[in-house]
Symmetry: C2
Subunit: 70 residues, 2 copies
């Protein structure tokens, strides 16, 4: 079952995932800010920064799809 | 323009927003984990915890919609 669900994952790369999380975190941060959830907005901004860093790193590494080696 | 866009916001409460962000952060954390983005997963978990805390707080406060007082 675990092997099956893993096989069905689309071949997104680490970079794709990190970029997606960065965009989502930025959008959620805006939502938090508009609702005066300052600490939450700050934490989401940290997540966005980390995601952007990882996206850049994965690009430099030219890393393969996440299924590699599984 | 600012007043206009504010008026057009749907009447979601702080609690609605915090609950939504908590759910999204949990989902994004799973994605990060599956892609071995450990630090990112950790930051998203902190965001989830903060969002859940705020959702609970907003419920206790019985706070009104975000448009209140604007």
């Amino acid at each position: 079952m675990d092997r099956l669900s893993r096989r069905r994952l689309p071949p997104y790369t680490r970079r794709d995932t990190a970029s997606y999380v960065a965009a989502m975190a930025a959008a959620l941060r805006q939502l938090a800010r508009k609702n005066d959830l300052a600490t939450l907005a700050y934490l989401l901004d940290m997540a966005r920064l980390e995601a952007e860093t990882e996206a850049r790193r994965a690009e430099d590494d030219n890393s393969g799809p996440i299924l590699e080696g599984s």
